[in-house]
């Protein structure tokens, strides 16, 4: 009646099932959903991840110079939604799982995206890489309508306040008219 457990025990004691973890690190399989990390080269600071994050782990704050995107691992549910929605393929779930820290504030990652400064007043108002990327994307289409990229770039390089000032108004109106046509 105890035969099975004794056999099992002998088999178990001959080859233990235990990993050698702290000495030999564990490599998770492909597709493992570990800590998410930003690719600073690719991120344009659009904040799509922050919009879609189910627990709201990704937040961004804008200051004078840059947009600070922050992902707090203490809130993150490691679902991989950010990776799914990122239009620029700039956030990835890595295979990292050893995340223990002493302070709650340390458990975070993020990127700082510099702002584009208004050519007129010098006020920063928009993430620079996002502007560059969207210009590239939109530029080709607009070229078919005979609008040059520089023209567009000139216009959107003004902050909302400046682009609605009196001396800029006619230029903007002309542009909009051509766009609508």
């Amino acid at each position: 009646m105890k035969r099975h457990i004794i056999l099992e025990g002998i088999r178990g004691s001959l080859n233990p099932f235990t990993t050698k973890y702290p000495k030999k690190s564990y490599i998770p399989p492909d597709g493992f959903r570990g800590a998410a990390e930003y690719d600073a080269e690719r991120c344009v600071g659009c904040g799509a991840c922050s919009q879609q994050c189910p627990p709201g782990a990704i937040t961004y704050t804008d200051d004078e110079k840059e947009r600070k995107l922050r992902l707090s691992y203490g809130v993150c549910s490691f679902c991989g939604r950010c990776e799914e929605v990122c239009p620029w393929d700039a956030i990835h779930l890595t295979k990292k799982y050893e995340l223990a820290v002493y302070n709650r504030e340390d458990a975070e990652t993020g990127v700082d995206i510099p702002f584009f400064q208004c050519t007129e007043c010098g006020r920063p108002f928009f993430p620079y890489p996002q502007m560059k990327a969207s210009l590239e994307k939109v530029g080709e289409t607009l070229a078919e309508y005979g609008i040059k990229q520089e023209e567009l770039a000139n216009l959107i390089s003004l902050c909302p306040t400046c682009s609605f000032t009196v001396d800029k108004m006619p230029e903007r109106r002309m542009f909009m008219r051509r766009l609508v046509k």
Binding site: I5, G9, G12, S13, P16, F17, T18
Partner: protein, 304 residues
Amino acid sequence: MTSIPETLIGLLVYPGFLFSLVVGGLFYWLYRKIKARFQARIGPPCYQFFIDLMKLFSKESITPYTAGSTMLVLAPILSVTGLLLAEAMLPIGSGSVLEFEGDLIVALYLLALPGIAMMIAGTSSGSPYGSVGSAREASLMVGYELPYALSVLTLGFYVKSLSLSVIVRYQLVNGAFFLRYPMATLAFLLCLLPKVGRRPFDAPEADTEIIGGPLTEYSGALLGLFEVVNGLRWFVIPAFAVNLFFGGGANILEFLLKSLGLVLLLSILDVIHPRYRIDQGFKFFLKWALPLSLVDFVRSLVLS
């Protein structure tokens, strides 16, 4: 007759407290290691028991407001003392520290002290888990003490002496008792399991049912004392059995090897069994251990 300093050394260093604590600690580690290996795990390192002790003695001891504090402190001390005195009476290798006619009976009942201390600990802690634990300990003791004492007395009646050293010497000449009285030996071994608090009779300390049992409220140094008891009993109780049924030992090495074998047996029994419910455990002793010991007891009365 030995002098007082010698007795003290015998009691506290060798073969008393320190020696048996070290050996008991190693035996306890062995038990944990066997358990781990049987479960396909690695298990703790060999110094684990001593590390645990050091840590527990460096920790704060909390006396719960509801507990009877005197009894709470006395219980582990009672337990340690009982085991130590019993240990002093056992002939380990050659000769014991305290030796007198009738020491068998005294050792028998000194070894019941840890159980009684458990009961005191449980009732005095004022926790419901503790009181349930001590009630279980009590009912289990009623179950196992009778076959336990009977199987020991079997030997006493056979050699017509209540002295441990006489029994051991008799065995050295005429062969170990477990050949002569296999049933009493079996009953005695069964009673050892609840004595060391192991499965299938560990209901008093069943962690999934009543958390820590009687020890629920203990912390720090007092818990450390109970850990000491735990270590000591892993040596003293197998040693008692070796002396009584397995012919003691001509020298210390033989003695230790025999105890080691017994520890291995107890560990494996523990590992392959689930826990009996308390009434089932009680019934088990009445149904199996008591008749077994009774048969050999009657046999020894007739034979002697």
